[in-house]
Every structure is written in structure tokens, then in C-alpha cells.
């Protein structure tokens, strides 16, 4: 029996590890047309030395990066293609100077060998431009620039980097291809005129995938062990078979399909899917070696509950009363902002009608209101409130009436008079 347990433990661990590793890697590419287009574009640069530029545009999590990854993989697999790759990201290279340093680093420039490249912006720029310009067309290795979060590069001063990169790609100098990746469809509007005129205006648009069948096949790709892989050699065949059968029946059940349908409607991005799958895998343990419907129930719970309602339910009765007062105020005055003074007045009116509500001490009410403000359940209307008494600063409530009602009706141990007051009609 103990022997069996150990075997099972090994199997579970190996399978979980294998699947997690599969999950963090790039998924197979689904955008075939874009794949062909991008590949031919890069091939022209790499093998015939043509310079070009293009933008990949698509919402988050629609497979832009995995498209690029698969194209680059394909490119490096085919023979005789020597190229240099420079990857920049707008979140990391926050200004042109850093971007230049990263370029020099990634091009492995001999003269500047070492971890850190220093020097002023103009020096670096001169250096890079010189080295890119002086080389002749035939003998140089083509360079592929990939600019992720392209829209952030547009915020750099004068768009110097973009200008120079596009300029070189337009003129007959070193062969290079500039690929920008962005989520903004209006990206060309952000470019300055002189930059825009040098850009090829080739855009590859990607659409997210809303098809449930495709989504389900992706999930089975991630979750089924069918393909023999060396990492799973030591796992017993019996376990693999059982795992696959179990997972397949689960994935085909209408409840699980419904869950993924719901997720697809709410968050179509790939990252959201991966997070859900990761949580599911993490739930697998020795005592629970196969996925079960309860795992799915738990993970998908977050799509059925409202975070703000949970937050309201975590407030104390006094704080909830104040939020209710705000909701009433907003309802009566049709969305007008309020200040602490009005809310306190409204609350006290309620408190006087109900003798059991004892808390009417003004400093405490103000403290409670400040706590609500700190949790950002209310937001000040304007930012410059330094010259105002804090009781008179205007706020907007950012939870809706129905959220407050939902919180009140599910709050544990709320005195009945408060729930009556909160759920009753105000107008």
C-alpha cells in the first residue's frame, strides 16, 4: 500500500510539473494568414536584404507574442538565415537612452563588451547610427528589431529612436526589419508626421478568438498527456490513461463548457485562460490526484462573485450604514456628488429614528468615512482639495445601488432595522 502511495505521488508530481511547464510555454499559433505574411516579410529581410517595417496590432492576449515567437522559431529553423535579433519593450526601455543601451548590448558590440553600457545619449546614438550606416548591403547580417508595447515608444521625446529606426529602414543602408507590437488600433495617429512618413504603414491586424471549440481544443492541448514525451517516461501508463480519460470527460461535460464559455465572454485573453488552468493544476495533490468538477467550481467562482460586494460585506455595520446613506443620497439627487457633512446628516436622521443605533459621535463618523475613502469606495471629484475643509470635499460613490443592496441582503448579522432602511424605498 505504501509502495502504491509513493508511486502515485511520483506520478502526480511528474504530471503536474509537465503540464505546468507546458502551460508557461507559448501556445501554438492560430493566426495562419498573419503567420504567412509576417514570415515572408522577415524572410525578405533575412535572405534578400530588404529593409521593411510593420506593426502587429491586436487586443491583449490575442496571440501577438505567440505569433512572433512561432515566426521567429520558423525563421531560425530554416537554413542559411543568419540574422541578429534586438528585442525592446516599452515598459523596460522607458526612454531612448536606455533603448540605445539595450540595442548596443543585444548587438554584442565588441568595443563595448561588458555588462553595462554607459555614456551620454548622443554618444550612443552616434555610435549606433554610424555602425548601422557604414556597413554595405551585401556583407552585413540583417537585423530584426522587435518593439513590444510600441505605443510607449511614441511617448519618448521627439520620437528620436523611432525616427532613426524607420529612417534607416527606408534608406538603402544596413538591411533591417522593424516590427512593432501594440494593442492600440489608433497607433499611426500617435506617430509624428516625419516618423509616420517613414513607416511602411503595413499593419497586421489580429482578432481575438471568440470560438468556444477552438478554445476547448486549446485547453485539451494543455491538459491532455496523449503525446508521448520524454519527461513522462517514468510515469505509469495506467495513470496517464486514467488522467486523460478523466480530463476528457470533464472537458466534455456541459458544466465545464459553460464555465469556459462564460470566461470567453468576460475575459477572452489568453493570459486569463492560462491563469485559470494554472490554478486548476495547482489544486492537484496526492489526496486529489485527478481534476474534479469541484476544482472547476472553485476556480470559476471568481467569475460569479462581485469583488466590490465582497468588499462591502467586509465593512463594519457602521461603515455599511454610511455607504447606504451615500447610496440613498446618490439616488435622491440623481448622481450628484456629496460631502461628509451631508452623509453624516443623513445618517443621523436614520440614527435618531432608531434608538438602538447608538453611534452618533461625530469624530467617529468622520473616521469611519475616512476609512471608506481609503478603501477607495468613494473618490474625490477633483484632485486639488488642499484648501478645503475635509468635511466639505465632494466625493462620488463608485459602487452601484444594486451592489449595496446585494451586500446588505447577504451581510451576516446585520441588525434588521439597518437592512430595512437600506432596502426600503428612499424617494
Amino acid at each position: 500500500m505504501k509502495m502504491l502511495d509513493e508511486n502515485l505521488e511520483f506520478d502526480v508530481k511528474a504530471v503536474r510539473k509537465f503540464l505546468k511547464e507546458k502551460l508557461v510555454s507559448s501556445p501554438p499559433n492560430k493566426h495562419y494568414e498573419a503567420f504567412v505574411e509576417l514570415l515572408s516579410l522577415l524572410k525578405r529581410t533575412v535572405s534578400s536584404g530588404e529593409s521593411d517595417s510593420a506593426l502587429i496590432v491586436g487586443p491583449r492576449g490575442c496571440g501577438k507574442s505567440s505569433l512572433l515567437d512561432s515566426v521567429l522559431k520558423e525563421l531560425s529553423n530554416s537554413e542559411g538565415n543568419e540574422y541578429l535579433l534586438v528585442k525592446l519593450n516599452g515598459l523596460v526601455q522607458t526612454d531612448d537612452n536606455l533603448a540605445l543601451r539595450a540595442i548596443i548590448q543585444q548587438l554584442h558590440v565588441k568595443e563595448l563588451e561588458g555588462d553595462q553600457i554607459t555614456g551620454s545619449f548622443s554618444d550612443n546614438l552616434m555610435f549606433v547610427l554610424q555602425s548601422l550606416k557604414t556597413c554595405d548591403r551585401q556583407n552585413t547580417v540583417p537585423i530584426i528589431f522587435i518593439l513590444d508595447e510600441f505605443q510607449l515608444f511614441c511617448n519618448h521625446k521627439n520620437q528620436t529612436l523611432l525616427y532613426n529606426l524607420f529612417d534607416i529602414s527606408k534608406s538603402a543602408q544596413a538591411p533591417m526589419c522593424v516590427i512593432g507590437v501594440t494593442t492600440r488600433y489608433d497607433i499611426t495617429e500617435l506617430l509624428e508626421k516625419r516618423v509616420s512618413s517613414r513607416f511602411s504603414h503595413r499593419q497586421i491586424l489580429l482578432m481575438p478568438n471568440y470560438d468556444l471549440n477552438e478554445r476547448m481544443s486549446l485547453i485539451s492541448y494543455y491538459f491532455l498527456l496523449k503525446k508521448k514525451s520524454p519527461a513522462l517516461r517514468k510515469v505509469s501508463q495506467e495513470f496517464i490513461k486514467k488522467w486523460d480519460e478523466n480530463t476528457e470527460t470533464l472537458l466534455n461535460s456541459s458544466k465545464v463548457m459553460g464555465y469556459f464559455r462564460k470566461q470567453l465572454d468576460m475575459e477572452p485573453s489568453l493570459k486569463a485562460l492560462k491563469n485559470v488552468l494554472f490554478s486548476l493544476l495547482s489544486g492537484i495533490s496526492l489526496s486529489n490526484p485527478f481534476l474534479s468538477i469541484s476544482n472547476f467550481d472553485e476556480v470559476f467562482q471568481k467569475y460569479s462573485i462581485d469583488g466590490k460586494v465582497e468588499y462591502l460585506k467586509d465593512l463594519s455595520a457602521l461603515e455599511l450604514c454610511l455607504v447606504v446613506s451615500m447610496a440613498h443620497h446618490v439616488e435622491i439627487y440623481e448622481g450628484e456628488p456629496f460631502n461628509f457633512e451631508m452623509i453624516i446628516k443623513r445618517y443621523l436622521k436614520f440614527a435618531q429614528q432608531n434608538s438602538s443605533v447608538q453611534i452618533t459621535h461625530r469624530p467617529i463618523l468622520i473616521k469611519a468615512l475616512e476609512r471608506i475613502k481609503e478603501l477607495e469606495l468613494i473618490i474625490p471629484v477633483s484632485n486639488s482639495n488642499r484648501n478645503q475643509k475635509k468635511e466639505y470635499v465632494l466625493y462620488n460613490l463608485i459602487v452601484t445601488k444594486s451592489q449595496v443592496r446585494a451586500a446588505v441582503s447577504t451581510y451576516n448579522g446585520l441588525p434588521t432595522e439597518i437592512s430595512h432602511w437600506a432596502l426600503g424605498n428612499v424617494v
Partner: protein, 417 residues
């Protein structure tokens, strides 16, 4: 694991979830975990104790402390590598982290507490840390955000795995507070005490720290009659009757960090009648004329100019009766906007009206006004207007009333309501 459960009662579900995501050796980590929950529900301590317990390499950074990029980056590196490295930009941070993970394949976890302050540092930093795994190109690194705000408040570009720490319920609070039991009393006695305390305080606050403070403060009072031998230990109702006034008293000091002892000291001191208004004591030290200016400013802010004639002139005729209807309307606007602005001339006029003696208008007198502005008791509106500056009063009635009393002035006389 058992140790952790005992250390943090009522947090089993959350600890299990964290363990599932981080605990397994040699398995890839998820890139981001977002932990949210109200203040004082154990977010920080749970995660810190967990990481310590399992000896995972981690850097714990409270983002409030990091007002510059450098402080943030260098703290992360010091805690992860043990070396003090110079690091100004995010790019360098990634470079150092890359070196670190290439050397050993252990797990590295960066915990960023108070993640809302990260956004203040740089709007893009949150997204940047969300993609740290991608940048460093290693799945052994994980970023954990802790925040008392909801994840949807953040400028999230990707979806993250979230763990919500719910507020403790009444029973859970009871269980946790039982751990604070002093040694020299019985279980049932302390439990009775906690039950009665929670009954009163729970409506006000569910904050564990606050509750602990209140409970420990009042326990001595609760025990007093028993120690004196007046009440039997098991007589819950009598004990309840004894403690209720004390509870009600400490309700007033909730959130303000004052112990009941210090309140009592104030209560028996006849000079101070409001405890929590901290402005009172400092205002009392104002110069003589400044006090008059403050009072006049208050009167100017809270009375409409058209009533000035009636309030401050000796022979104003009789119109007292007709005013009642208009007042209702005015009250509404006052409530909406708070104190109203007034020009300097009006302030001076009221100042001379309420002062019995003659004071010549010199520079010295005028500086008193600017002193009040500097002390933020008044505020100046519209910086551009040099000729006719306008002011607003920022203090409340309580405060002005105390100031007026030190001058022997009855402020109610000059107020309409």
C-alpha cells in the same frame, strides 16, 4: 504547515491556496499573485511567515517607503542577492535579476506590499512587474502584490491570479481574541467578557488591531468588581451592567489611538472639554489679535454678508421675525459648499465690530492674518488677486468656540442659528 495554521487561526483556506501556488519544488511559478483584503486581515504577516517557514528566497518591499526608483530596485536586489548594487532603472534591475536566476535555479519571490503606491511612482510599473517573468525569461520568479484595494482598481493589462483575504467574522474574531487571554483568569470568564465586548464594538469596527486594543483596554475595568469581591465571577448580567458605561466611553475613542486612561485624565480636567479636537490646544496659543481674527473669519464664513448689519451694528432696527424662512435655503447651500469666501475688508470690519478696544491697523496686525493662513486655519482663495484677497475659514465651531471663551466672548451672539 500545522504551525502556520496555529499561528494564523481562520486563515487555513488562504494559506492552502498560497501553498498550492508556491509550495511545490521544481515546478514553474505563476508570474503574478494579487492578494487583496481590508486592512488588518493578515495579508502581510501570513505571506511573510509562509515564505520564512519554507525558506524561500524572497524580497519584501513596502512600496510606501519607495519614493524613488532607486530605493525600490536596490531594496529588491539587496534582499535577493545580499549585495548592495547600484540600480537606477528597471532595465538594470532586470539585468541583475537575469544574472541572479542564471546562477541558481531556486525560487525567487518579490513581495510588494502597498501596491497602490507603486502606481504613484510610475503608472507603468505595475504592468512592468506583472510581466517580470517574461522579461527575466525564467519561470522561477514570481511577484506578489499586496493591497487593501481591489485588483480592479489597478491599471491591470493582464489577468492575474487573485487571493482575497476576507474580513474576520464575529466567531473568528472571538477565536483569535481568545489567544490574548491573560494567564490568571478562567476560560469562561474571558469568553464572557469577549462576547459582551464584541456585542458592543462589532458594529463600529471589524478591524482586528482596533478590536485587540479595545479589548485589552477594558479588561481591567471588567475585572475590577470581581477583584474587589463585589460581584461573583459567574454573574454575567451584573458584570455587564458594570462594564457598559466603560464600553460606551471607549466607543468614543475608537480609531483615534487614545487609551481610556488618557481620556479620563482629560475628562477630569475642567479646562479641556473636547478631547478629540486636536486643533484646540494649538489654537489656544495664538496671539491676542490673531484670536480675534480667527473668530471674525469664522463669522464671516458662516454668516451671509446681508446679515452683518443686523449682527454687528448697535442700532439695526427690528427684523428678527422675518428671517426664519430664508434660513432653510441658506442652510442647504452652506451644507453643500461649507464655509464661504469673504474679502479682506469684510474681515477687518467684523474684526473691529467685535473688538471693544481700538487697535490701529498696522503691518503687525496684518501679519497676523497671514500667520493664520500659514497655520492653515484660514485659506486664501485666488492667489492672483493682490489688491482684494479673499479668504475662507477652515476651522469648525467647536474650535472657534473654545478660542472665543478664552477671550470672554460669546460667539453664539453673533451667529444666526
Amino acid at each position: 504547515m500545522e504551525n502556520l495554521y496555529n499561528l494564523f487561526p481562520c486563515r487555513k483556506v488562504q494559506i492552502n491556496k498560497i501553498h498550492q501556488l508556491l509550495g511545490e519544488e521544481f515546478e514553474p511559478l505563476t508570474d503574478v499573485i494579487f492578494i487583496s483584503g481590508h486592512p488588518a486581515v493578515g495579508k502581510t504577516t501570513v505571506i511573510q511567515e509562509y515564505l520564512k517557514h519554507y525558506r524561500i528566497n524572497y524580497a519584501f518591499i513596502n512600496c510606501v517607503e519607495c519614493y524613488s526608483y532607486r530605493l525600490l530596485h536596490e531594496q529588491i536586489l539587496v534582499q535577493l542577492t545580499g549585495n548592495k548594487l547600484k540600480c537606477d532603472t528597471f532595465m538594470e534591475l532586470i539585468h541583475h535579476l537575469k544574472l541572479l536566476v542564471s546562477k541558481n535555479n531556486e525560487k525567487f519571490i518579490i513581495v510588494l506590499d502597498g501596491a497602490e503606491y507603486l502606481e504613484e511612482l510610475n503608472a507603468n510599473y505595475f504592468s512592468a512587474f506583472c510581466r517580470l517573468q517574461e522579461f527575466v525569461n525564467c519561470t522561477n520568479i514570481c511577484v506578489i502584490f499586496l493591497s487593501s484595494l481591489l485588483p480592479e482598481k489597478f491599471n491591470l493589462h493582464t489577468s492575474v491570479i487573485t487571493i482575497h483575504f476576507p474580513q474576520y467574522s464575529k466567531d473568528e474574531l472571538l477565536e483569535i481574541l481568545k489567544l490574548t487571554k491573560p494567564e490568571d483568569c478562567s476560560h469562561t470568564f474571558y469568553e464572557n467578557y469577549l462576547n459582551s465586548a464584541l456585542m458592543i464594538f462589532l458594529r463600529m469596527t471589524r478591524d482586528l488591531n482596533e478590536m485587540k486594543f479595545l479589548v485589552s483596554n477594558n479588561f481591567e475595568k471588567y475585572c475590577e468588581p470581581v477583584k474587589k469581591g463585589l460581584v461573583n465571577q459567574d454573574d454575567v448580567t451584573l458584570l455587564w451592567r458594570n462594564i457598559l458605561p466603560h464600553f460606551k466611553e471607549s466607543l468614543k475613542s475608537i480609531y483615534s489611538g487614545l487609551s481610556t486612561q488618557s481620556i479620563e485624565r482629560y475628562l477630569y480636567d475642567p479646562n479641556i472639554n473636547e478631547v478629540i479636537c486636536t486643533k484646540v490646544s494649538s489654537v489656544l496659543d495664538l496671539p491676542y489679535y490673531a484670536k480675534y481674527f480667527l473668530i471674525s473669519a469664522y463669522l464671516a464664513s458662516y454668516n451671509a454678508p446681508k446679515h452683518d448689519r443686523r449682527l454687528f451694528m448697535k442700532n439695526h432696527g427690528k427684523q428678527r421675525k422675518r428671517l426664519t424662512k430664508q434660513q432653510v435655503k441658506e442652510k442647504m447651500t452652506l451644507e453643500l459648499l461649507g464655509p464661504k469666501a469673504f474679502p479682506l475688508d469684510r474681515l477687518l470690519a467684523i474684526f473691529y465690530a467685535i473688538m471693544e478696544e481700538k487697535a490701529s491697523l498696522t503691518v503687525n496686525l496684518m501679519t497676523q492674518i497671514s500667520t493664520l493662513v500659514e497655520l492653515k486655519l484660514l485659506t486664501r482663495i485666488g492667489e492672483s488677486n493682490l489688491e482684494r484677497p479673499k479668504f475662507k475659514c477652515l476651522v469648525g465651531l467647536q474650535c472657534v468656540d473654545t478660542v472665543a471663551r478664552t477671550l470672554g466672548l460669546n460667539i453664539q451672539k453673533y451667529l444666526l442659528d
